[in-house]
């Protein structure tokens, strides 16, 4: 799988040299940044740690970055790491008591859901700075676009490729570590894992912080790319469910699954938007929901998982 990923990375890095239309580049950037967030979510989701609150981390990182730029004038090159660090700190604050007190399963999902809602409502409540539900735009700086991280589509393309590649690299690195095996054991049975000397809380914390950080990075870069921030699309239950759906549709158990999921959801959104337009407002979430249910019922391992099973089915064992 890593070979496919490297080939994809090289191909993606070379693609803008062909002189593709801006619309294509736009979709590509949006896909790669979503893929980074989805990959981050799936890193922990595949071990049974299902979070419905990744919107919280994305919202914290994106708004930290934008507020630092607008109010203090700190460049997004520093603002994005600062935002991601704050998101990771929030994840630690939320996850540590959860794991220590064994808040698992439904309870963990609902606690994270509450965290996402807190961030969304806080953003709306702090409307003097964040613009509330109307959203906000980072201040434009045409004469200093590098420091402001405001590139044209080509410039941002390479940034997005690099960020996406970093996410895949993290996945690959975790897959090769002992932690992946420890986490797999934990997801089967926490007590049994603890009894053979696995430090359950530490392993879960590590994967959660990495997961929150990657999701937050994808979200912050996405907000910077679009130059528009909105509490509904960056925090709360809506975005959190979209992340889960994307990762699940692509297949959250394989390295490129969330990426395929991102490509799939964005292609779906664009198709629905272009074919229905504003005439059938509501058709998009309807189709989205139907597909989500169908995927869970008939393709629980996602698109990539289905292909993998086809390919490896004749072999004995795994």
């Amino acid at each position: 799988m890593i070979r496919i990923a490297i080939a994809l990375f090289v191909a993606l890095a070379a693609l803008p040299l062909l002189g593709l239309p801006d619309y294509f580049l736009h979709l590509g950037i949006a896909t790669m940044l979503s893929a980074l967030s989805f990959t981050g979510w799936a890193l922990m989701g595949r071990f049974g740690l299902v979070s419905f609150g990744h919107g919280a981390f994305i919202g914290i990182a994106a708004y930290t970055m934008a507020l630092l730029w607008n109010e203090v004038g700190l460049s997004p090159w520093l603002g994005v790491p600062a935002g991601v660090a704050l998101a990771v700190a929030a994840a630690a604050l939320l996850a540590y008591p959860c794991f220590r007190l064994r808040v698992v399963g439904h309870y963990f999902a609902l606690v994270t859901l509450a965290a996402g809602e807190i961030v969304r409502i806080l953003i709306i409540a702090l409307r003097d700075h964040t613009g509330g539900s109307l959203g906000m735009t980072p201040r434009l700086a045409p004469d200093n676009s590098f420091a402001a991280m405001q590139f044209d589509k080509h410039g941002f393309w390479w940034l997005a490729v690099a960020a996406w590649g970093f996410g895949i690299l993290v996945w690959w690195w975790i897959d090769r570590s002992m932690s992946a095996k420890a986490l797999a054991a934990i997801s089967e049975d926490e007590d049994a894992a603890a009894s053979i000397g696995i430090r359950v809380t530490r392993e879960k914390m590590m994967i959660t912080l990495i997961s929150a950080g990657l999701a937050a990075l994808g979200g912050a870069l996405g907000a910077q790319y679009r130059l528009y921030l909105n509490p509904e699309s960056l925090a709360g239950i809506g975005i959190s469910l979209q992340i889960v759906f994307g990762a699940l549709a692509g297949g959250m158990y394989s390295m490129l699954g969330p990426t395929v999921g991102a490509a799939f959801t964005i292609a779906l959104e664009e198709t629905l938007r272009v074919s229905f337009g504003t005439a059938f407002i509501g058709a998009a979430p309807l189709v989205y929901g139907v597909l989500l249910v169908l995927f869970i019922l008939f393709l629980p391992r996602g698109i990539v998982g289905w292909f993998e099973r086809k390919r490896w089915a004749p072999r004995v064992g795994r």
Partner: protein, 284 residues
């Protein structure tokens, strides 16, 4: 005491009454079927549209619209169970939650497609009543009383009928009950139907207080889940009490700060409670 604070507390208790019905419904379904219906607030939304449509568009009397709303949402609950939850009963819990999350998008999208994104109002308003030094909204008071009556009926049903006893037994021990001659699949169906009925009842009470729009579920859905978890998932009495607690927190929070901050405080309270009592405030 400051009359405004008193008014906030009274309003909080009335608000808790409105939260109580969906909380009971969710807890019943969770306790029996062991699945969280993430789209529960959207079922309430469908019920609200149902009442609105029958009353303002079809010209039915309000009581008839209410009466029609209950079986419609109950049927929807049955459909949800049969089509989505039942095939996933042996899947990991999180898959089940996600599937009902998909239904959330379906209902939201469907409502947008049929009714558009406009806010729809019944246009029924009762004058506020003056009790002592404070004002109490008449519609809220009626909704509160109706919620209590609904909860009482549910309690009576669970306590004094054969099916109710079976429901309580299966919530207590899922493995043993089938050996005692109770068909769990039938009980699941009954619980889903009752869960839907409670959503319909909540819809009747909400539609006279709030304008209905496709996203209304998002405004009280998350808080409903928080209340359920705070009281202990599946714990009916705990959820019922937590509903009033949360109502008062939100209402008095609105008195000291503003409405949004009061929700932030309520969610933060929830997270703190989760850390202090991971199995819920009223866990045994």
């Amino acid at each position: 005491m400051d009359p405004f604070l008193l008014e906030a507390i009274v309003n909080g208790i009335l608000l808790g009454g409105v939260f109580a019905l969906p909380v009971l419904g969710l807890n019943l379904v969770f306790g029996v079927v062991d699945v969280v219906w993430l789209c529960y607030a959207e079922l309430v939304m469908v019920g609200m549209y149902c009442v609105w449509f029958l009353y303002t568009q079809a010209g039915w009397p309000l009581i008839a619209a209410f009466a029609a709303c209950l079986p419609v949402v109950a049927g929807l609950g049955l459909l949800l169970h049969q089509l989505v939850v039942r095939p996933l009963l042996s899947s990991p819990p999180i898959t089940q939650v996600l599937a009902t999350g998909g239904v959330l998008f379906i209902l939201q999208g469907g409502a947008m497609l049929i009714f558009g994104t406009d806010f729809r109002s019944l246009g029924v308003e009762m004058p506020p009543m003056e009790v002592g030094e404070i004002f109490v909204s008449g519609t809220k008071l009626i909704a509160f009383v109706a919620a209590l009556v609904g909860a009482g009926l549910l309690w009576t049903f669970l306590k004094f009928t054969y099916v109710g006893t079976a429901i309580r037994a299966i919530a207590r021990d899922r493995e043993v009950m089938p050996l005692m001659g109770v068909d769990p699949r039938r009980i699941y169906l009954v619980a889903s139907a009752i869960g839907g009925t409670l959503a319909g009842l909540a819809a009747c009470l909400l539609v006279v207080q709030l304008d209905v729009h496709p996203f209304i579920g998002l405004s009280f859905g998350p808080i409903t889940f928080m209340i359920c978890v705070m009281g202990g998932l599946g714990n009916m009495l705990g959820g019922f009490l937590a509903a009033f607690l949360m109502g008062v927190i939100i209402s008095t929070g609105g008195f000291w700060w503003n409405t949004e901050m009061s929700y932030v405080v309520a969610f933060a309270c929830f997270i703190v409670v989760m850390f202090a009592r991971p199995r819920g405030l009223f866990a045994r």
